[in-house]
């Protein structure tokens, strides 16, 4: 982000960057940056809090009017109030994840779980007017079937001729997570992101399925499969201790190439 500021400013347009990782900003030294003490993924703070977001935007844009620089790095003073857990939130009621967490058993649970969460996901869309699910372009049942194929040890053909099978798996996994997180957030209350992710990774068949799939694919003969499965299915805090390391080293992943 800071590099972008450097390039654009060199081309003659004033920039101000939001910074989420202050050490990176201090090293790159963009013309102007506002460091915010928020979690990664929330550069403008809490959702549904327009007054708070406005203060962040104004604090950033205000740096454009400071006469001295470069470099300006200022700190936003307030924490995101939505980072706090909401004790009133009750996660959706789902059957306990079965003791048999074999990939094939978990695959069979995925479809049932989608049906159990269907009402909540419809409620989410009705209340928010949107879903952020859709990278794979597949309906939720179809993408679960696709992930199920991988869980059964098969490498299915891609269902989208613009995506390789592995790329479609990554997008399908993103969509599955997104679907469940929206359904979970539709339950009464205003859960923090931590509450939602803890629920997804500990109490849903979908979370267990992705953890199992990661574990399974790390035994692949393909370095590319190991790289994608190891780094882009399960966030490090939720990788089981038996499956460490949390990040898989591999060749630098450059721009996309045909067939990837």
């Amino acid at each position: 982000m800071s590099a972008l500021g450097h390039y654009l400013e060199e081309e003659g347009i004033a920039t101000v960057a939001i910074s989420l990782i202050r050490p990176q900003t201090e090293k790159t030294r963009p013309p102007r940056a506002l460091w915010v003490p928020f979690q990664l993924g929330r550069p403008f703070g809490p959702p549904g809090e327009p007054a708070f977001q406005r203060r962040v935007v104004l604090a950033a844009l205000g740096l454009l009017e400071l006469p001295t620089g470069p470099v300006i790095i200022k700190d936003f003073p307030d924490d995101d109030p939505r980072e706090k857990a909401d004790p009133s939130w009750r996660p959706p009621s789902l059957p306990a994840v079965p003791a048999d967490r074999s990939p094939s058993a978990l695959a069979s649970r995925l479809d049932a779980e989608i049906l159990l969460l269907a009402d909540l996901h419809r409620r989410w869309i009705a209340e928010h007017g949107r879903t952020a699910v859709g990278l794979s372009g597949l309906p939720i049942q179809e993408l679960c079937g696709y992930i199920g194929e991988w869980l059964h040890g098969r490498e299915p053909l891609s269902l989208n001729d613009q995506f390789s099978p592995l790329l479609l798996l990554r997008f399908a996994a993103d969509d599955l997570k997104g679907h469940h997180l929206e359904a979970g957030a539709a339950a009464p209350g205003k859960p923090s992101s931590r509450q939602l992710y803890d629920w997804f990774w500990s109490a849903t068949a979908a979370g267990s399925a992705l953890i199992a799939l990661r574990h399974m694919l790390l035994a692949s003969d393909s370095e590319r499969v190991k790289l994608i499965a190891g780094n882009f299915l399960v966030p490090p805090p939720y990788v089981p201790s038996t499956d460490r390391p949390t990040m898989i080293a591999g060749p630098a992943m450059g721009p996309w190439q045909p067939g990837q």
């Binding site: 454009l64 009017e65 990278l135 993103d174 997180l181």
Partner: protein, 153 residues
């Protein structure tokens, strides 16, 4: 999902120590008061309009977010899974504060919000992004943009 401090120490250190470009210049552009500025958002969240091609790998180019894009049209395709998506799911302004910019323009705090905004994918290599960024600058200047709000995730 987490703050940097909440990540496993090895990963937090890796992010903090991420290799950054070592620029030898310090560009600095001034301009008129905010009330006369035209502001565009340039995100690095890997945003795309639904139906478009998501960012793959570490694609260094950018996507256009055209006028009239609605909240239900916008998706995130950033390759990293280490940041929270639930804020964006609930409210696109968490990542793409277009409603806030439009409000500031309507009340005259800023001159105007640009009609078109843009997104890169932040995990791309900076030196590969550079030519695309410089090309984008030309488009922004054609649109009379003189202030850019850079929004990471």
């Amino acid at each position: 999902m987490v703050r940097l401090a909440d990540l496993p120490p090895s990963q937090a250190q890796r992010l903090a120590a991420f290799e950054c470009p070592n620029f030898t210049t310090e560009p600095w552009v001034t301009g008129p008061p905010l009330s006369q500025r035209r502001v565009a958002i340039v995100s690095s969240a890997g945003l795309l309009v639904r139906g478009g091609m998501p960012f793959r790998g570490r694609d260094p180019d950018y996507h256009t977010i055209p006028p009239g894009t609605r909240p239900e049209d916008l998706l995130i395709s950033h390759v990293s899974i280490n940041f929270d998506r639930t804020g964006f799911q609930e409210d696109w302004n968490v990542v793409f504060p277009i409603d806030r910019l439009n409000e500031l323009a309507a009340e005259g705090t800023i001159g105007s919000a640009a009609d078109t905004h843009y997104s890169f994918m932040g995990a791309a290599e900076p030196d590969l992004i550079e030519p695309h960024a410089r090309e984008l600058a030309g488009r922004l200047k054609q649109d009379k943009v003189d202030a850019i709000l850079l929004a990471p995730v």
